[in-house]
Structures are given as structure tokens and as C-alpha cells.
């Protein structure tokens, strides 16, 4: 443990004044296989697109092996869900990327593109094409920042230490040495099966 942590000074005086506002939210999609869809990975806060991509590579890029990453400023998303109001502002025709979530238990993933004069028009078109889904998003392609096709994102080292399945086999073997099968089955009932 560092000496600093062992000897944390007694707080004195007031906290420093707040600095500005919060960072801006960015949504992150990762492509798990070359030529496959981009699937929703999560979101993060950043001051600009460059910082968002840097954090995305470091965080979501190391969660799961992936070939490419997209980051999208949250306000650029127009969706059928309450979190993402869609802009009706009309302008020149732009290309919008469609994302769909098929059911509550699935995640959003990228689909076709649509050319439209506003996000609202693109969303209407996307919903008409495939109405039977949980959530639909549209994002102007120009608002999507992407890693290069040949960027190295996933580190070529063993990262099973940060996954539950990296421990599952050895843990089970160790348990089997001390517990009988019914007791072990009862104990494992509470586990999140989908995580393995």
C-alpha cells in the first residue's frame, strides 16, 4: 500500500470550487466479428469524440474481443424509446444508420442505412420496415466515430482472469473435492447462469 494511502491527511478547509458542468454522454457499439453487426456495449462520459473513443477502446474494447468500435454522442440518437427523443428538424438528405433491439432480453445491434431529410423521417421509415421490435434507433452516419478497420483493439494476451468463465472449471473442480453433488447444485442455483 502506498504511503499516501496509509497517511491520508486530515481534511482541512472547504472543497475546491466546482469546475464547469458534467461531461457529455457517448454510446458505444462494438463489432465482435469482421463484417458482423455492431452491438450495443454501453456508454461513457467524455469531453469530446476523441476522448470518448480513447475511453471506449480501453473499457469496452477490453470487455470482449472485438474488431471495431463505434462511439455516438447520445443527443445524436433518435429512438422509439423515451431516453432518445428524435429530431424533426428538416435539412438536406443524410444517411442514417438504423439500430434495432428485438426483445427485452437482447441488445441493440446495427442494421441497414436509410437516406432521409430528418431523423424523424428516418425513424418512421425504419419502424415501417420492421415494426415488430422492442426499440429502434436512428443515427446520422456523420455522427458515428469509428476505429479504423485494421486497428488493434483487443490485446493478444490471456484475459480470462477478468471473466467469470475463466474461473468456472477450476472452481467447480475445487468444490467437488469438498462438497457432494446435491449441496453443490443447491449452492450454484443462485448463480447467474447467463454469465457463464
Amino acid at each position: 500500500m502506498s504511503k499516501r494511502r496509509q497517511n491520508v491527511p486530515e481534511p482541512e478547509g472547504d472543497l475546491p470550487a466546482p469546475v464547469g458542468s458534467d461531461l457529455a454522454p457517448y454510446v458505444v457499439f462494438t463489432q465482435l466479428k469482421k463484417d458482423g453487426p455492431f452491438v450495443y456495449a454501453g456508454w461513457l462520459d467524455a469531453v469530446d469524440a476523441a476522448m470518448a473513443m480513447f475511453f471506449a477502446r480501453e473499457h469496452y474494447g477490453q470487455d470482449q474481443k472485438c474488431t471495431q468500435i463505434w462511439t455516438i454522442p447520445r443527443p445524436a440518437i433518435g429512438g422509439t424509446d423515451a431516453d432518445h427523443p428524435v429530431s424533426t428538424a428538416e435539412g438536406a438528405s443524410r444517411t442514417y444508420r438504423v439500430f434495432r433491439q428485438r426483445g427485452e432480453a437482447t441488445v441493440l445491434s446495427s442494421a441497414e442505412t436509410i437516406d432521409a431529410t430528418s431523423a424523424a423521417v428516418a425513424l418512421t421509415e425504419a419502424v415501417k420496415t420492421d415494426p415488430d421490435v422492442e426499440v429502434t434507433w436512428v443515427v446520422a452516419e456523420a455522427d458515428i466515430a469509428a476505429t479504423g478497420p485494421d486497428d488493434l483493439i483487443w490485446r493478444h494476451t490471456d484475459q480470462t482472469y477478468r471473466l467469470a468463465r475463466g474461473y468456472a472449471k477450476t472452481v467447480r473442480e475445487k468444490w467437488e473435492r469438498v462438497r457432494n453433488q446435491p449441496a453443490l447444485a443447491e449452492y450454484e442455483k443462485e448463480e447467474l447462469k447467463e454469465a457463464f
Binding site: R5, D22, V47, A82, A164, R177, V178, Y187
Partner: protein, 340 residues
């Protein structure tokens, strides 16, 4: 890591709420619909959900502190990598939960400042010390195990943004728990010295684990707003019983003795005796156990725990030392970093 059952959640109906809107809201909740942040909701619900999500976020970033202390002292490279990844995950969970809270109307900076100044709380369990590597194993096995049990039920709640965040967090908690389980199994199949270290740590963490689920429920808990509005879906006592039913037999099979303990002001055990109440009821299958010391629970909440001062002082130091970074990225003015 942490669920938020033990947030002191007193949520009352506001008499000024529109009765028609309130009825529609309650009907949607009862029918299993998810409430989104821009839907109409009773003011007490918004405040209650903010309090719960903020408490949970605070717990994630404070919870990273005791484990972070052990990164440099982990016993192998693989354990060091795993612990580093876990601490990174916990802080990431804090970020996700602060985002949920921000959508309910409070800025992140206000939340961090309220945490440091003691206006808001974090989970009690992080006010206990982790003096050995055995404590890190117990935190990951018992506390993360309790967190998964709790957060699985919170993921059945009604507030959409919180529910979705819980589901993602639970996936990562599975790694934390599995890693902890592996460490406990390794220690308990090791040398007598390793087993003693694990037993001593178990003694320190068993009762904080039972307290993790919050104080005993009020008799009418199911009819009070937190459960009626599905901010939480299972009572504290029921979760505590599920935890004991799962972990007590596993601990006994591993060779642990489940002790009732007395601790000193530093949170270290000064006296212990086997829990004489601990036995399985053959009819119900449930394990009886000695209740935690609830006076200690409330004393720690009020700031009288072994590590309350230390945790907040370190959090404050980080905030103060990060000021120049915030200034640099938000205002483009780096200034000079403070002397370390």
C-alpha cells in the same frame, strides 16, 4: 459491488400528487411496466429512486477503496490482474449509476461533493477494514455474493434505467464472485496458516455480510412505497435468509467455523464463540442464525465505524488532487497539479 438495500429509504406519498396520475402510475407499476426517467412519476418516487441510485453509485466508488489497497500486494500476477480489473469494474459501475442519477436531476459533481461532505451515504459494509489478503477473498466471495443476490432482485424493479444498469452490472459481478470463490477455495485447501488467515477474515466479514441486506423489515414493508412501487422487490429479511441458506452450508463444508464475534474500535475481532443458533430446520430447510448487532449497524451508519473517516478522507484527497484534471478537460486550463 453493492446493492442498496440498506439505504435509509423513507419514501412517503406526497399529498399534492395528482390522484389520477398517481393511480395510473401505480397501475403501470403493478402491471410490470418499466418507468422511464421522463415519464410522470410521484415526486417522492423520483426522490427515492435518486437517493437509491446515488447511494448505490457512492457505494461502488467507495467500495473500490479497500480492494484497491491490495493491488500492489496481490500474491500472484494473475490475482493482481484480476483485482485490478475488478476495481476498474467497480468504478465503472459507479459511473453507470451516477449517469442514472444524473437523469433524475442531480449533477455528478454535486453527488461527489455531497458524498465527501457526508450529506449522502454509501454502503455500511465499506467502513470495515481489510487487513489481510484473506479479507479480499471474503469481500469477493461473501460481499459480492450478497450483492449478486440483492441486485438480481433489484433488476426486477420498475425504474427502467436502473433495471438495465443492474443487468449489466450483474454480469460483471459474476466474474468478481467467481474470482473470490476461487481465492477462498485456494486458501481453504492450503496450509494451516492460509486456513487461519481465511478463518480470521471470515470472522470479520460474516456479520457485515448479513448486515449487507439492511436492517430488519418493518411489519408492513410490502405496502410501503419502496416495495409498492417496486423500487425494491424482496424484503431485507428474506434476502438475508436466502444468503444464510446458501453460504452457511458452503462455509461449513469448506471447514469454516461460523462465529459470533466481538470487535474493537478498529474492526478487529477480540472475542468469538461458535454461533449456537446455527442449525438447519429440517422441516423448512432454512438455517437459523444469530442476528447481527443492529446497534453496531446504526453506529457505523452514523459515522462511528472503523474506517468511515479514512474512506471519506481518501475520497476527498482524490477529489482535490483531480481538480486540475477536471479544469484541464472541462475548461482547457490545466494549471499546476497539487504537490503529491
Amino acid at each position: 459491488m453493492s446493492g442498496s438495500s440498506n439505504v435509509g429509504m423513507h419514501v412517503d406519498h406526497d399529498l399534492h400528487d395528482d390522484p389520477e396520475k398517481l393511480a395510473e402510475f401505480e397501475s403501470r407499476v403493478a402491471d410490470g411496466h418499466l418507468i422511464e426517467h421522463d415519464d410522470w412519476m410521484p415526486d417522492a418516487y423520483r426522490k427515492g429512486m435518486l437517493k437509491m441510485a446515488e447511494h448505490h453509485a457512492n457505494s461502488e466508488i467507495i467500495g473500490a477503496l479497500p480492494e484497491g489497497e491490495w493491488i500492489t500486494r496481490a500474491p500472484s500476477l494473475r490475482r493482481k490482474l484480476a483485482l485490478t480489473a475488478k476495481v476498474q469494474d467497480e468504478v465503472g459501475h459507479g459511473q453507470m449509476l451516477y449517469r442514472v442519477s444524473q437523469d433524475l436531476g442531480k449533477s455528478r459533481d454535486d453527488m461527489l461533493r455531497d458524498l465527501i461532505t457526508g450529506k449522502t451515504k454509501y454502503h455500511n459494509v465499506f467502513n470495515y477494514p481489510a487487513p489481510t489478503w484473506g479479507d479480499i477473498a471474503m469481500i469477493q466471495w461473501l460481499i459480492d455474493g450478497a450483492a449478486i443476490m440483492n441486485q438480481k432482485t433489484l433488476a426486477d424493479g420498475a425504474f427502467g434505467p436502473y433495471v438495465r444498469t443492474m443487468k449489466r452490472i450483474n454480469m460483471e459481478e459474476a466474474f468478481h464472485f467467481k474470482s473470490g470463490e476461487d481465492m477462498v477455495l485456494t486458501l481453504m485447501s492450503g496450509t494451516p496458516r492460509q486456513k487461519k488467515m481465511a478463518q480470521d477474515a471470515f470472522d470479520r466479514w460474516w456479520y457485515p455480510s448479513l448486515m449487507f441486506f439492511g436492517p430488519p423489515d418493518k411489519p408492513d414493508a410490502e405496502n410501503l412505497p419502496p416495495m409498492k412501487w417496486r423500487m425494491k422487490t424482496v424484503k431485507n429479511d428474506e434476502l438475508r435468509q436466502r444468503f444464510v441458506d446458501r453460504f452457511a452450508p458452503a462455509a461449513l463444508d469448506l471447514g469454516f467455523v461460523i462465529n459470533v464475534v466481538e470487535k474493537d474500535a478498529d474492526g478487529l475481532v477480540v472475542a468469538k464463540r461458535p454461533d449456537e443458533q446455527l442449525r438447519q430446520d429440517e422441516t423448512t430447510g432454512h438455517y437459523a442464525f444469530t442476528e447481527p448487532d443492529w446497534e453496531e449497524f446504526y453506529r457505523v451508519i452514523r459515522g462511528g465505524g472503523p474506517c468511515n473517516r479514512q474512506r471519506l478522507a481518501l475520497r476527498r484527497l482524490s477529489y482535490e488532487q483531480g481538480q486540475w484534471v477536471r479544469r484541464a478537460i472541462l475548461q482547457g486550463q490545466a494549471g499546476l497539479p497539487p504537490a503529491a
